[in-house]
């Protein structure tokens, strides 16, 4: 039972992070390797907001979420906008460089020691006991629910929303989309801010659950295989991919070797790249487009 809960919580973490990769990739074919750092930035924003809105934890959390959305949009407007239409490698490396920059700034401002935003906000993290003798902490539960809500909202938005439709159009064929009067820069900026939003949500909830250190981006790197296993351009795939990766990781750690933790997602990734590189639900043509 505990194993199952662990898998579900880890899968939610991976899924919530992976949908950020998928959103940006699907719309603009850019792989955002700074996702982990932006996620960590969201978590540290909670710390900053906690001191700003002392005594109002809800206010502080909302402010941090809003700020991270703004961060995502700013990243696009000031940096990635210039890389639109550039070589794939150049765009990826720009995100890598951005990640390095963000990480350096975070260490400069907040130091690299472990910090606990939950304490700063003055909120507790009670543990619930579920039937079958499983334990789950409050914030992990919130994370699982947030993940489900986020995926539901994203599905609805992409399917029925006006901007969601524009995003899908831009992803399918940017040139035609632009010709039909879709504001590509607007769509890309929206994708970046949505992606940063989901990433930051994951970062914030993880930080509330177990604190935040400078090594948080590693988790996001491990979530990337989840996005790819499901198919980089498929949102539903990311959910399933996260389940597969999390399941493999938890079970292998439990039954084989704890040291495997960092490498399991990448083993699954390599296996997937050999068997079906476009992912479970991805489109096959994807491979030739990049």
């Amino acid at each position: 039972m505990q194993l199952l809960i662990n898998i579900i919580v880890l899968a939610s973490i991976y899924a919530l992070i992976a949908c950020g990769y998928v959103l940006i990739y699907r719309v603009s074919r850019v792989l955002n390797l700074a996702h982990g750092e932006l996620m960590m930035f969201g978590a540290y924003l909670v710390l900053a907001c906690a001191s700003l809105f002392a005594g109002h934890p809800i206010m502080a959390l909302c402010a941090a979420v809003v700020l991270s959305v703004v961060t995502g949009a700013l990243v696009y407007v000031f940096l990635m906008r210039k890389m639109t239409g550039e070589m794939v490698l150049a765009a990826i490396l720009t995100t890598v460089a951005l990640g390095i920059l963000v990480r350096g700034v975070i260490v400069l401002v907040w130091s690299s020691q472990q910090q606990y935003p939950a304490q700063a906000l003055g909120i507790s993290n009670p543990t619930f006991t579920l039937p079958g003798d499983g334990h789950i902490s409050f914030w992990s539960l919130v994370l699982v629910l947030t993940n489900l809500a986020a995926y539901g909202a994203l599905f609805g938005f992409l399917r029925f929303g006006r901007w969601g439709m524009r995003m899908r159009a831009a992803g399918q064929n940017p040139l035609l989309a632009a010709q039909r009067g879709i504001n590509l820069h607007g769509v890309y900026a929206l994708a970046w801010s949505l992606s940063t939003l989901t990433g930051a949500l994951a970062g914030i909830l993880m930080a509330l659950d177990s604190g935040v250190t400078g090594s948080m981006p590693v988790i996001a790197l491990k979530a990337f295989p989840a996005a790819l296993v499901g198919g980089l351009d498929s949102l539903g795939g990311a959910l399933l991919g996260a389940l597969i990766i999390a399941g493999a990781e938890v079970l292998l750690i439990y039954y084989v070797d704890p040291l495997l933790s960092d490498v399991v997602p990448f083993l699954v990734l390599v296996a997937m790249l050999i068997v079906r590189p476009w992912g479970l639900f991805g489109t096959r043509e994807e491979l030739d487009r990049v």
């Binding site: 792989l31 940096l79 210039k82 890389m83 550039e86 794939v88 490698l89 150049a90 990826i92 490396l93 720009t94 890598v96 460089a97 951005l98 990640g99 390095i100 920059l101 963000v102 990480r103 350096g104 700034v105 260490v107 400069l108 690299s112 790197l221 990337f224 295989p225 790819l228 040291l259 495997l260 960092d262 490498v263 990448f266 083993l267 990734l269 390599v270 790249l273 050999i274 590189p277 491979l287 030739d288 990049v290």
Partner: protein, 360 residues
């Protein structure tokens, strides 16, 4: 390809021997002689710190040149370069630790590891391109690092493996000056290998594959063969760099080969300038010296004590900024700047080449 001295007027070759010569004009010969002179006298006047810096530059150059071969010329993106360096270093570490192997055994063994890993890293490239290939090399990097870490913990070297300085023919390499020359020779040899590879059949095949795979295949180039060849050659040279690194440091630990090192190598070829061996050298020099330059600059500021703990973070952040600036403002890298300076003097007092005689 690697023309340090520009030619203002037309220089015409009249036979194949001239065409094949590495040094074609007197200016080039004089330039090379001067460079060799400077490089040979440098260790006798430099401080130990500068000597160490030069050695690091040479080591980085080997890695950057081999990555340039793979990414800059053959067009195969690799984010797993640190994994290959780690493989070479660990092969050396394990062999010296387990069977007390000498230098002349560990070096070829590292190259062999590189060849095998090159095949492994290269196999995905037969099916994948661009971003997907980058991701697969990234994954392989983590797997290599995991294997190294596993060895460290299982054998009880959890802090790292100590390696004795090697001896060459009864002469122990402990002196910084001796190391300088060894690394210089290795770097120069790598450069020579790269130059010769690139102006032969394989180099032309790589460039054709880089430009357009379909056309290259139609021309009769074996795509899979040459892709694998690029990976194998590049990674064996990288592993040799790893072996030298292990001996030079006298210590191997898995922490030294994290993803950041891969990124640094990619940064070297980006900052230096894609598709140019000179760029790889310039980039390796720039990226290696960069943290020391930042540190020196920080020391000039007031309140040094307060900043002392943050030097690492400042380094990190400014490295990110420099990388972004190069990617956005100067995609051709340092070589691009260098060419522009050359052209300015070559064309002076004009600004642009006349269209009719446009040639690269």
């Amino acid at each position: 390809m690697f023309r340090p001295v520009p030619r203002a007027s037309g220089y015409f070759r009249t036979d194949y021997a001239q065409d094949m010569a590495l040094l074609q004009t007197r200016a080039e010969r004089i330039g090379l002689a001067a460079l060799v002179g400077v490089l040979v006298t440098l260790p006798f006047i430099a401080t130990p710190f500068l000597l160490d810096l030069a050695c690091q530059v040479f080591l980085a150059s080997i890695g950057a040149l081999s990555l340039m071969l793979l990414t800059g010329y053959a067009g195969q993106i690799s984010l797993g370069h640190a994994g290959l360096i780690a493989a070479g270093a660990f092969t050396t570490g394990i062999l010296t630790r387990e069977i007390n192997a000498p230098f002349w055994l560990t070096l070829p063994a590292s190259a062999l590891t590189g060849i095998v890993l090159g095949l492994v890293f290269g196999l995905p490239s037969l099916r994948l391109r661009g971003l997907y290939l980058a991701v697969s090399t990234l994954a392989l990097h983590f797997i290599v690092i995991y294997l190294g870490g596993e060895y460290e913990t299982k054998r009880g070297f959890s802090t790292g493996i100590l390696i004795e300085k090697p001896s060459l023919g009864g002469f122990k390499l402990t002196d910084g000056r001796a190391w300088y020359f060894v690394l210089l020779i290795f770097a120069a040899a790598t450069l020579l290998i790269c130059i010769n590879l690139l102006r032969s059949r394989s180099g032309r095949a790589w460039r054709a594959i880089h430009t357009r795979e379909t056309v290259a295949e139609a021309l009769g180039i074996s795509i899979s063969g040459y892709k694998l060849l690029a990976f194998v050659i590049s990674s064996s040279m990288t592993s040799v760099a790893g072996c030298l690194f292990a001996y030079y440091r006298g210590f191997v630990s898995i922490e030294a080969f994290d993803l950041f090192l891969s990124i640094q190598y990619v940064a070297m070829i980006i900052i230096g300038g894609m598709g140019s061996l000179l760029g790889a050298l310039l980039g390796a020099t720039f990226v290696t010296i960069f943290p020391y330059a930042i540190e020196a600059l920080l020391k000039l500021l007031p309140n040094v004590q307060k900043l002392a703990g943050d030097i690492f973070a400042v380094n990190y952040a400014s490295f990110g900024v420099v990388m972004i600036l190069f990617l956005v403002l100067e995609p051709l890298g340092l070589v691009g700047i260098w060419r522009r300076i050359q052209n300015y003097f070559l064309l002076w007092p004009f600004k642009y080449k006349p269209l009719a005689s446009m040639r690269k």
